[in-house]
Symmetry: C2
Amino acid sequence: MLLDLIQKRQSSRDCLPKPVPRELIEKCIEAARLAPSACNSQPWHFIIVDEPALKEKLAEKIFSGPYAMNSFAKKAPVIIAVISEKSSFMAKIGGYFRGTAYYLMDIGIAVEHFILQAAELGLGTCWIGWFNERETKRLLGVPAAKKIDCIITLGYSQEPLRAKNRKPAKEIYSYNEYRGENT
Amino acid sequence: MLLDLIQKRQSSRDCLPKPVPRELIEKCIEAARLAPSACNSQPWHFIIVDEPALKEKLAEKIFSGPYAMNSFAKKAPVIIAVISEKSSFMAKIGGYFRGTAYYLMDIGIAVEHFILQAAELGLGTCWIGWFNERETKRLLGVPAAKKIDCIITLGYSQEPLRAKNRKPAKEIYSYNEYRGENT
């Protein structure tokens, strides 16, 4: 059941030093590939860094200094940089008039597909938004004009399942009228 | 398996006139509630519009004029407006320095949890970003300062499963270096 997978998914910050077979990584990519997106733009490209020396250098460079709070990522055997590619013309025009960068919702959807698929395969992941983007681009040959809005770590983990700290349901929905913040 | 659910999810634009039990809607909300978000901000509130007269009025108002391309939504028995709530201070600061509106990725994740859960329950959905936001706020009592980045339709559907039109896998990932657009 989906809910079991959702419960199982948690930020995994303590990976084991065990490589992840590419076959499994590509299953996660397939889940992301099939994600919906605004005007079917599919504005994403995944760079899978699993070559040990490169992975180590990358982790060293992008999770140091002001980004050291995420240095746990150095333990992950795989780091995946998610490049935000161009949205379709229609998605851009629509987003402009609506005041919403729809490509970010698209990235959220596709990466979460990846992450839920990883959970199903018994792999741990962690969403990371705080990293040195410039160094990431430099080390992976990504053109400077591109945006990397997030990175994912991937690996095996033996962390026990933690209880999720979330708002109670009644705070996040209401029927037929707004009952959210400031009401 | 997750991949079956992902395959099953498609934009459903032809709902049957059959009400959706609130118990099922609340299962979808639970899947969304447990979604991860930047700094665990959980910046979302779902307004579930299932009262028939209100739903009809809403659909009439928000999918007309320049938004008439989405008037298929009038057939859905349930329309859900997703209010983007405030992110935590840390998520906002981080997003400011990184140049990324992380709350939009959060909305993407949570709404996709909702949508995949609906697919598992045999319900059809459609992501909609193009609608009259001002009228939506007015009819549902949402403060003008809030943002509604997306709406979801929900209902039973008998549409056959369509093949997904997506980029080939080799275009959306590469190992250890960038091989995306403009390479």
